[in-house]
């Protein structure tokens, strides 16, 4: 165990902490799953290759699933971690790999959770994993485009374990506009076919989000690439 700690410390020490950059993303949106949602993410750009983050997501449900049966009312909370790694960069084009993973909790509306009245629902819990690739094209000095995909996987762990969704390939398209040296406005859409739970759950997903990114280091600009 001591060796593991030592290796960990060496890795931390190899990063140039003085160049580390912290960012906050605040976004709101709507999706097929949630009428409205909000997400806050704190990210640490450790160097020009690796970004680590933690996010919190809260949404008002309009079409999600518990026990592979549709619910239409309730709330979802999710907390997770993210990582983004630069793979390559060629002039204005850059490619990053990313992964997001988190636990989630669905609190159903106890009075009227679903149009399916022949089933007794209870709250649900589970986790999601979203690995993917994202390309960024710097179109102008202040405007960049994103295109990529993620392979969404969702597993319900309570009340029972169900392979709820995926792995399903979603497109991602985004626009990023630099507002100032330390702020960035972005819009993003995620869309694609999906399946899970032997076809009982979601079959098509879409999401639209707008957000703003702030760099917490006043002397460093908010980066436009990736997630």
């Amino acid at each position: 165990m001591n060796r593991v700690i030592l290796v960990g410390l060496l890795l931390l020490g190899s990063w140039n902490i003085s160049q580390a950059q912290f960012m906050v993303d605040a976004e709101v949106g709507t999706s097929k799953s949630d009428q409205v949602f909000g997400q806050l993410q704190l990210a640490w750009q450790t160097n020009n290759r690796l970004r680590l983050g933690a996010y919190f997501y809260q949404g008002a449900i309009q079409y999600r699933f518990v026990d592979a049966r549709a619910i239409n009312a309730g709330n979802i909370s999710q907390f997770g971690l993210s990582a983004l790694v630069k793979l390559t960069e060629n002039g204005p084009l850059r490619l990053d790999a990313f992964v997001k993973a988190g636990g989630r909790n669905i609190a159903i509306n106890q009075e009227n959770p679903s149009e399916l009245t022949t089933y007794t629902f209870s709250d649900g819990a589970g986790f999601t994993i979203d690995p993917g690739l994202i390309a960024t094209y710097q179109a102008t000095e202040k405007l960049s485009l994103n295109a990529g995909f993620n392979m969404h996987l969702a597993i319900q762990t309570s009340p029972q374990t169900i392979f709820e969704q995926g792995p399903s390939g979603y497109f991602i398209f985004g626009l990023n506009q630099q507002l100032s040296e330390t702020s960035l406005l972005y819009a993003r859409t995620t869309v694609g076919p999906t399946s899970g739970a032997v076809g009982d759950t979601e079959k098509f997903f879409w999401q639209i989000a707008v957000g703003i990114r702030f760099s917490l280091n006043a002397s460093q600009s908010a980066t436009v690439f990736g997630f």
């Binding site: 793979l87 999906t194 076809g199």
Partner: protein, 218 residues
């Protein structure tokens, strides 16, 4: 623990090699696409993508593909008369929607005709397709999962799985001077092996497909 550390080192090393590809012969590409499938009496709408590496001086793309023809964006239905004496929510005839998904590997030789980039994507992978209850019919009368009812109503063959083979030809042109973003169209033919279902038989998805796509890459 040694294995974990070695795996992390190997991963870091492999990422480092990929990161240096601007000085190597290996490029990458990502092509989101929408497509229309000429199925039985209607055009099915599908979405998907290909991604992978570009090798041999950018003359060969090797990677993976994924696409799906999702039910909610395909309103076409197939009517099915239940067996005599069998009903579902009081009905003897039910409309089913269909969907399918495919995932596998793609190899695509590249060439140019004048200023037009051409490629011949050859795809092979796994394929799954089903027919499913839709709209109000998804609210089952007894709370059972809807897939259990679909199994019962269609004799356990509401869905099927098999292999997919697809060949095509695509043309694309640049949207940017640096060729990093391109747009194109393709014509493909899909062939399935081993697929069977009550409503689709064995030949439902043996059909041509046209695609419209963007390409991002270096």
């Amino acid at each position: 623990m040694k294995k974990i550390i070695m795996a992390l080192c190997a991963l870091t090393f492999s990422v480092s090699i990929f990161a240096q590809d601007h000085i190597s012969k290996v490029g990458w590409y990502f092509t989101p696409e929408v497509s229309g499938m000429f199925l039985d009496g209607h055009v099915g709408r599908a979405m998907g993508f290909q991604t992978g590496v570009s090798i041999l001086k950018r003359q060969l793309h090797v990677g993976m593909f994924y696409y799906g023809r999702s039910g909610p964006i395909n309103p076409h239905t197939v009517s099915y008369s239940l067996d005599e004496g069998q009903t579902y929510k009081g009905k003897e005839t039910i409309d089913f929607r269909a969907d399918h998904g495919a995932f596998g590997v793609v190899v695509a030789p590249q060439f140019k005709l004048g200023k037009v980039h051409m490629d011949i994507p050859l795809m092979f992978g796994q394929f799954g397709a089903g027919f499913y209850l839709t709209d109000e019919d998804r609210l089952t009368p007894d709370g059972r999962r809807v897939s259990e009812w679909e199994d019962d109503l269609l004799g356990g063959e509401d869905a099927g799985f098999g292999w997919i083979l697809e060949g095509g030809i695509r043309a694309r042109t640049s949207l940017t001077q640096d060729n990093h973003i391109q747009i194109g169209m393709g014509l493909h033919y899909t062939h399935t092996i081993g697929y069977n279902s009550t409503l689709g038989g064995t030949d439902y998805y043996k059909a041509p497909r046209v695609s419209l796509f963007l390409l991002f890459g270096n």
